[in-house]
């Protein structure tokens, strides 16, 4: 289909890796604040076709970023979803124009507590307005306006990315034709909120946090690491942890009768926590977990989830994993039921995996088969 490609689009400065745009806004946030301007860091892969009908928006999870299929600038690691996005993958730049933007409130270039408040010339810190999942989606829509994309072929996300994906047709019913929601939920439960609160309290209990004003001094890395450790457990399954670590000791033959990381699982978690602080901002962690806790799509639509989907003609595909206890299958099922009640075309499958919530990021041939078939059906 080379003849349908507008030659200008291939050299357009709006398209490519490591892009950042400052949009004037204002963006009216759910909390009532008008945010202006709005910075959005993003990447695009592939070529937008002449009628701009092949755009696929990828929504990232809590600590994810726009580097969905490109090397992360700080960690040097490959993109976080190269199993789903790339050549020969279900989302393929050869066919799709892939857009992935850093969410509002995050710390990889989009407006958030770590960016500069133009009014003060200093980091927003805790002065940044509290945001919601829907605010993230509205910011993404502003980016699509900037990119010249009116309607998405699909919006795809796992975990918090799935919350955004689900919010898309609810917020912009006419701007999305297909919606893929993986290992996600339509609302945060008390247990979800509880785990997040543990993480937030760990950050705020770190003396380096200083009410969020740590940007000129040491960051609250100890607190943020503990937050990440607690959260990380929720992304795995007990069976997965047992298989990977069991009760094995870390580089020693006997227990130390002290409080070193005797067990491999302790050492692993400490490493995960510490590595996380190299790439993530503590205040962003507070803001984004808050946005997730506030998420209740039914509440935004008169208490009935089906109402969220009555105006859209989008097709839906939901996938859950049987060992995911963070967003268990029952959450996906209740979304499916609401979609059915709204008359929306919906597919759903619970896949089997030993890896818990994180399964959606790992090699899962069945997941790829489902997403590929679903996306091709609407193309």
């Amino acid at each position: 289909m080379l003849d349908t490609i507008d030659p200008d689009r291939t050299t357009d400065a709006r398209f490519g890796l490591a892009r950042r745009v400052t949009l004037p806004g204002p963006l009216r946030l759910d909390g009532g604040v008008l945010l202006s301007p709005v910075d959005i860091a993003y990447e695009t892969y592939g070529t937008l076709n002449a009628d701009a009908s092949n755009a696929v928006l990828i929504c990232h999870a809590l600590t994810g970023d726009q580097h969905v299929a490109s090397t992360h600038p700080r960690t040097g690691k490959p993109g976080w979803w190269t199993r789903m996005v790339g050549e020969g993958r279900p989302i393929d730049p050869a066919r799709h124009f892939v857009v992935c933007a850093n969410v509002l409130g995050s710390c990889m270039g989009s407006s958030g507590p770590a960016t500069i408040n133009p009014a003060t010339g200093r980091a927003w810190a805790m002065g940044f307005p509290v945001i919601t999942i829907r605010d993230m989606v509205r910011a993404q829509a502003m980016l699509l306006d900037h990119l010249g994309i009116d309607v998405l072929q699909a919006v795809v996300g796992g975990s918090m990315g799935g919350m955004q994906a689900l919010s898309w047709p609810a917020t912009f019913p006419d701007r999305v034709r297909a919606c893929v929601v993986i290992a996600s939920t339509a609302r945060h439960t008390a247990q979800n909120i509880a785990f997040h609160e543990v993480g937030r309290q760990a950050v705020m209990a770190d003396p380096n946090w200083r009410g969020g004003d740590y940007h000129d001094e040491s960051a609250p890395t100890a607190g943020l690491a503990v937050a990440r450790m607690a959260a990380h457990i929720t992304y795995l399954s007990e069976a997965g942890l047992t298989e990977k670590f069991g009760r094995r000791l870390q580089a020693r033959d006997a227990k130390s009768f002290g409080f070193d990381a005797d067990f491999q699982v302790e050492s692993y978690l400490r490493h995960q926590g510490l590595a996380f602080t190299d790439r993530f901002d503590a205040n962003s962690y507070l803001y984004i977990t808050r946005a997730m806790d506030y998420f209740d799509l039914a509440e935004e639509h008169g208490g009935l989830l089906a109402n969220a989907f009555r105006a859209t003609r989008a097709r839906f595909c939901l996938v859950s994993f049987d060992t995911d206890w963070l967003y268990p299958t029952a959450e996906s099922r209740s979304i499916v039921q609401a979609l059915n009640a709204a008359g929306a075309p919906v597919s759903f499958v619970e896949l089997s995996s030993p890896y818990g919530h994180d399964a959606f990021l790992l090699e899962a041939p069945e997941l790829n088969r489902v997403v590929d078939g679903f996306l091709r059906a609407g193309a």
Partner: protein
């Protein structure tokens, strides 16, 4: 099957169902397997087909064909579907595997304005011979599993099903009886048919 050329690759009972579903209608296929019937209905008859299937591998295969299929259990998940939300609800080769086939049938007639039900006939002469002469649970072409691993937990005969429909006041709008790929007469069906397909309607005039 000579009258159903577009569905030649379909199993015989599915071919009959596909041939009698009205064009452009809305269909729910309960126990849709890998979506073979749904795909045929969509491609040949412009049907808006939705599926319910218990096996995740089958769901993945069906979604891979671009079909809208939900993984679920007919015994549990039919109650979430609104009344009369489909023109047809189809239950092919699934009735005898349900824990509560009577309730599944109630849901079918509630959700669909009409229902297709197909099942293997447990009174087929081969089955009878197997029990009469062999004294063993039959293992036949239609019932290939042994007693301990069969998913068919509610074996039913054509006459059982007819009596059941009469008892419940369900209207039979059509019935087809298959021996292999060939149709047999209604009168001898309970003995000669391996398979039955019924087109049903709930209330008179509905």
């Amino acid at each position: 099957m000579s009258t159903t050329t577009p569905q030649e690759t379909l199993r015989a009972d599915l071919g009959i169902i596909a041939h009698h579903v009205a064009r452009g209608s809305r269909v729910l296929d309960v126990g849709c397997g890998d979506g073979a019937l749904m795909a045929a209905l969509r491609d040949e008859r412009g049907v808006d087909a939705r599926g319910l299937e218990i096996d995740p591998g089958n769901v993945a295969a069906a979604v891979g064909r671009g079909l809208s299929v939900i993984q679920g259990d007919a015994d549990v998940d039919l109650q979430g579907y609104p009344d009369a939300s489909f023109d047809y609800a189809i239950l092919s080769q699934t009735l005898q595997t349900a824990r509560a086939p009577d309730l599944v049938l109630d849901h079918l007639l509630r959700i669909g304005r009409r229902a297709f039900v197909s099942f293997p006939n447990f009174a087929h002469w081969r089955v009878r011979l197997s029990l009469l002469w062999g004294g063993r649970m039959p293992v036949t072409r239609q019932l290939p599993e042994s007693w301990y691993d069969t998913p068919n937990i509610h074996h039913v005969t054509i006459d059982d099903f007819r009596a059941f429909l009469r008892q419940r006041g369900v209207i039979v709008e059509g019935a087809w009886f298959l021996s292999g790929d060939k149709q047999t007469t209604s009168a001898a069906a309970n003995l000669l048919a391996e398979h039955a397909v019924f087109l049903l309607r709930g209330e008179p005039g509905a």
